[in-house]
């Protein structure tokens, strides 16, 4: 899923400082799972903004709505009535949701309440870690199911750099070296010889470097 984190409260409050009425829009997709922008977080943010503004003597009216997904036009359409008479929409979705609302309501001021961080998963209650670099050409079959593109700080494809020591990455003792993990796993699987094979330069055009990407499933289009 996409993992996001709420922006500092003061930053969000600043985005809507000149508004009198706002729609605070949550999303029940990934950001609800990572506790950043679900129904609960949406209501907390709305209440906090209202209280903050009341203390400033400039009361703010809030409307809340939590979409099933903000990354699907039909669910963004569903908030049309609420969007109509607000000065701004504060979206608690990932960057996709914010853009979907902005696209659907071109004359509306739409601001992000979250920082979209990474594609990852939960490793313990309340803890999430990055796992996928969205590079567009998966190589996990060559690396024992551990992604060096995103889990190695330098995206190395041919083994660990000289900064890998005691299983940790040179950037921090809290970051495991992806290549140590790959090595250990390939060793356990009896496939170490795979790591001797030279991996040629990656085709980054399939990643974000190739410009905005698009996926089409012909059979699914109408």
């Amino acid at each position: 899923m996409i993992v996001a984190e709420q922006k500092p409260f003061a930053e969000i409050a600043g985005f809507v400082a000149d508004c009198n009425k706002i729609l605070v829009a949550g999303c029940l997709g990934c950001v609800a799972v990572c506790l950043a922008g679900g129904e609960k977080e949406t209501e907390i943010l709305a209440a906090a903004l209202r209280m903050h503004r009341r203390l400033q003597g400039k009361p703010l009216e809030t409307v809340t709505y939590t979409a099933t997904r903000q990354c699907d036009p039909e669910y963004v359409d569903a908030m049309a009535d609420l969007v109509k008479d607000v000065d701004a929409v504060v979206s608690l979705a990932c960057g996709v949701g914010v853009q979907y609302i902005a696209e659907r309501y071109p004359d509306k001021w739409v601001v992000p309440a979250l920082n979209t961080r990474f594609a990852g998963g939960s490793v313990a209650q309340g803890v999430w870690e990055e796992r996928c670099g969205l590079c567009g050409e998966c190589i996990l079959h060559k690396t024992g199911g551990i992604c060096p593109i995103i889990r190695c700080s330098k995206s190395l494809l041919n083994g660990p750099c000289g900064g890998s020591q005691y299983g940790k990455c040179e950037i921090s003792k809290d970051v495991p070296c992806a290549w140590q993990l790959i090595y250990d796993r390939m060793k356990a699987l009896g496939r170490l010889e795979w790591l001797l094979e030279y991996q040629p330069p990656k085709d980054w055009s399939k990643s974000r470097d190739g410009g905005p990407r698009k996926a089409v499933r012909e059979d699914a289009t109408i």
Binding site: M51, H52, L55
Partner: protein, 140 residues
């Protein structure tokens, strides 16, 4: 004289029973406390705390069992972390985290319950009325 309104979210297994005990013991304590019984302090939700303040509370506290004694094992630890989170949010909002507190006590601590009620009342009296309320009045 300012008489604060304080909401106390009390766990059924400890603080709430301690309140009962305080009553049976005929202990005198500040009448400013409004007790809300909860099945466990761990069920406390940031939204409820915020709603209390938004609707006029001058102070709020959550009272759970002594550490290690939670009927649901870890509910009180969760409550403590959540209260800590909301305290920070109250600072961000500008209301001030010191209007919110978390306490641990047991069902046998009737005296301690009364103490906490007095302590919190005293703290909020010193802080004065919730500025949210003042703004409401001024705005009205």
């Amino acid at each position: 004289m300012f008489e604060p309104r304080i909401v106390a979210f009390c766990c059924h297994y400890c603080a709430y029973s301690a309140a009962d005990l305080a009553g049976s013991m005929r202990l005198q304590y500040a009448p400013n406390i409004r007790v809300v019984e909860m099945p466990c302090s761990g069920t406390i939700d940031a939204r409820v705390i915020l709603a209390a303040f938004e609707d006029g509370a001058d102070g709020v506290y959550v009272a759970g069992c002594l550490e290690g004694d939670c009927h649901f094992l870890k509910g009180n630890f969760r409550a403590k972390k959540r209260v800590h989170y909301v305290k920070k949010l109250l600072d961000d909002i500008g209301l001030g985290g010191e209007r919110l507190e978390f306490y641990n006590l047991s069902a046998a601590m009737g005296t301690r319950f009364a103490e906490i009620a007095n302590e919190m009342t005293e703290r909020i009296k010193n802080l004065g009325p919730s500025p949210l309320k003042a703004k409401e009045v001024a705005g009205a």
